[in-house]
């Protein structure tokens, strides 16, 4: 029996397993290093995933649980969690993969491999930010995991460097959990984050955004006490004379992601010229025959739905490869058409889905309103609502009896000025087993129900 191994059980890996199974693979082995499948989706408790794939706006955990449930019971699938892939080598006409877990260290064979190992975050060290090296500096994804999974609060007054989407999402998240976000600092002249995220993560919470600035120094010997920020010139060099100090106890870095493919490159996969990215052909195959690559370990994607689509295609091709059938070409989608950058004051950005339509409202001489720019009818309602009581779907976590955090989202949009008290209400709840109902609804006193996400 020919075997496919999928390395990495995040969105891409789950989809790859599904693609391989659907294409008729006899045996698919999905290996993940974490205790639970889902990868980074587990900590992305915010809403807005799945519009392409599931035609619904879901939180990261919901998306993960749903994708896993689609393959979980398949008898041709074997899942190994808490298992690390250490190395890969070619042995005769099959591949050998070295895995390490609490049961041992061994080499296992596979006829085809799909790598779906995700990406990692750029660090303070890579940016070479001068200053001290105190406690209180975190990358955004790490902070996200700490807050949403480990139930640990990184700090009380936060500065975020980088206005990419993860930085924006964390600004809102920390704000809702009671931290003060003193500033978001962006070195470029405009933000690279989605306009709808700037709307709903920064503007909604009056968090100042400094574009054309960077953190020029970290201050504080034991714990961060402040950061120095400076304007930058056209070469992105610091203009020392513009230095100003912002007091804070935490610096969060959201300064970019790097595809993680050390194992693959160590195994000899060719890299794209001048980068650390692994080269793939139009079938998502690397320079190693039968070894495929997908998701954020191929390049950093802006939508998880696209990661899933690509993972599915890679898995499918792995199955076709071992059956010696023709592979199917994969076309990378064009860059997302969602609007990025800082919204104009007069802009209304619909936040109902990741498309984030920029909606224009013109009033003619007769006082009639003409609404344009909305991609779907929901946009009209959004404008109505936004002009009366801006409301948002609020996501947070609730503590379960075991101490574990359960991601929840409000079943209905909540008016913005009440979002913080909704989250606070959730902060004080402890969810017992009896509260876990079939419909996943959790009563939140004085608010719409919360919808919990648990396996």
């Amino acid at each position: 029996m020919k075997k496919i191994i999928v390395v990495g059980g995040g969105a891409a890996g789950i989809a790859a397993a599904q693609g391989a199974l659907d294409a008729g693979a006899d045996s698919v082995w999905l290996i993940d290093r974490n205790k639970e499948l889902g990868g980074i989706l587990r900590q992305c408790i915010h809403d807005g995933f799945g519009l392409n794939k599931y035609k619904a706006s879901m939180t990261g955990p919901e998306y993960a649980v749903r994708s896993i449930s689609e393959i979980y019971d398949n008898p041709r699938l074997h899942i190994s969690r808490s298992t690390n892939v250490i190395g890969v080598k070619k042995h005769n006409d099959e591949y050998q993969i070295q895995i390490q877990n609490s049961e041992g260290l061994k080499w296992v064979g596979a006829n085809s491999i799909v790598f779906a190992t995700g990406c990692r975050e750029k660090t303070r060290g890579m940016l070479m930010i001068p200053g001290t090296r105190p406690a209180g500096i975190f990358t955004a994804g790490l902070a996200q995991r700490l807050v949403n999974i480990e139930n640990v609060m990184p700090g009380k007054r936060v500065v975020i460097l980088g206005s990419g989407d993860i930085g924006l999402i964390m600004a809102r998240r920390l704000c809702l959990e009671g931290a003060e976000v003193a500033a978001v600092i962006e070195i470029m002249k405009d933000s690279g984050g989605l306009s709808r995220n700037i709307r709903q993560c920064l503007l909604d919470f009056d968090i100042p955004l400094y574009t054309g600035h960077t953190v020029s120094k970290i201050i504080g010997r034991e714990r961060v006490q402040a950061v120095e920020i400076c304007e930058v010139d056209d070469n992105l060099s610091v203009k020392k004379e513009t230095a100003q100090i912002i007091d804070c106890d935490t610096l969060i870095l959201s300064v970019g992601l790097i595809p993680e493919n050390e194992i693959l490159s160590a195994a000899g996969a060719e890299l794209c010229d001048g980068t650390e990215n692994v080269k793939t052909d139009s079938y998502l195959q690397t320079s190693l025959d039968g070894v495929f690559l997908c998701g954020n370990s191929r390049y950093v994607h802006d939508l998880v739905d696209r990661v899933s689509a690509e993972g599915y295609a890679a898995g499918q091709n792995a199955a076709l490869f071992i059956k010696m059938q023709n592979l199917i070409e994969f076309q990378d989608p064009v860059t997302m058409n969602a609007i990025k950058g800082i919204p104009q004051k007069t802009d209304i950005f619909c936040v109902l889905c990741p498309n984030g339509c920029r909606i224009k409202v013109d009033v003619n001489e007769k006082g009639e309103r003409n609404i344009s720019g909305n991609g779907c009818p929901k946009g009209v309602n959004f404008v109505e609502q936004e002009s009366k009581t801006p409301s948002r779907i609020v996501t947070t976590t609730v503590k379960g009896e075991s101490g574990r955090l359960i991601p929840v989202k409000s079943s209905l949009p909540i008016s913005l000025d009440k979002a913080a008290s909704y989250v606070k209400e959730c902060q004080n709840m402890i969810l017992s087993k009896n509260d876990l109902k079939e419909d996943r609804r959790i009563r939140v006193a004085g608010f719409p129900d919360a919808i919990g996400c648990y396996d």
Partner: protein, 486 residues
Amino acid sequence: MDNTYDIVIIGGGAVGCAIARELSKYRLKVAVAEKEPDVACGTSGRNSAVVHAGFNNKPDSLMAKFCVEGNLHFEEYCQELDVPYFKTGKLLVAFDKNDLETLQGLYRQGERNGCKGLFMLTAEELDRKAPYVKGIGAMFSSNTAIINPFLYTIALAENAHENGVEFLFNHELTGVNKEGDSYKLFFNNGLKETITARYVINSAGLYSDKVSQLFGINKYHIYPCRGQYLILDKRISDLIDIPVYPAPRKGIGGLGIHVTPTSDGTVILGPSAEYIDDCDDYESTRDVIDRLLDEASQLIPDIKRKYVIGQYTGIRSKQAPEAEGGFRDFTICAEEGTHLINLIGIESPGLTSSIPIARHVCSLVNQWIPLTETGTFIGKRKAPMRFRDLPDSEKERLINQCPEYGEVVCRCEGVTKKEIKDAIENPLGTVTIAGIKNRTRCMTGRCQGGVCLANLTEILINEYGYKPEDIVYRSEESKYYTGRVK
């Protein structure tokens, strides 16, 4: 509790710990008082991690004597202490005729100091040895080695502790009262406790002048001289397998910016030499970072900005100010009319010299208290397993024995859960994130803790019952978290 000690050593650096270990061979009650929560928090852990050969030091100096002696025996020390040691050798590269003359001078000085293994290389020989360096000639020192100074200092401390030395962490000496033949020592650890010491050894590094002042001896002054380093990713370590230094230029108060592989597979470049006012000012600065990269890439053109994964800073405790060129020999003496041994200005090559210095200090102690061996001293130490360095068969055996060896906590450096637990349960009883990092290399790889800090946090909270707000980076003041979210 009996708070009276025969000897109290102030400072848990490499030298303080080496002295503690040497003294643990004798019938003495010894304690080390360290202001930080762990050993190797100061200069001992913040340097180039090189075991020097001894050609750089003035003939007949203590530096030359102890360095040559330390270098000669360092491999034995490391075997005994079970810490890694790599005899890489070292290159000093000449770029012009003056440099060549300097190197010839160093060669002669080295011979006078008793260094072995020095060779002058032509440009061709240099090219064969290190094709990535473009010089017109070089000196090769075959006995230079690299170590991990944290593991070395921790090993000294743990072995001293196994042989009966007490370690008093978070004990910063703030006052001394002479009481009869002894000293009463006061600390600012908030416990209002005092301890009594018959003799005190001041191995306080950057603060040795201030500690000396507490005993009424005001003649020393330390000039802190900062050195910044950058850490490069392992990707470049395939290329650079030997420490590469430029031929030293006069008056810079250091050995020049050099490029050194580390015993853990990364590469470091630095250090700068900046005289500063504050012994705790470990800040890095943009100008120096740029200069380090500039000078290092002049030395080795393959060094690029994109390889940088981290930075650190150390401070040399110099006895000579910048105006004097920065060089002065170690001061190691029993102060007349006191029960105090002062060690002042222990900078490079202090790490290499640490055990010879400790033996010398013992001979000074012996003039006060005739030393008799306990007969029970065991110098051989067993380090916790370093899983990633083992062959596969051994790894399999260990996982079978203890499944926690199978769980990877830090993927960049291949650190397992068992190793993390060993570090948390270390014999010195100190638990800080920096301590775990220094013992295991968790968080030191290319993700710099992006993944493994959360894993560590989870272990500390779930398996050791820590509250988030009790997890500290280096000291009580460096709390990592403000509490639970809910």
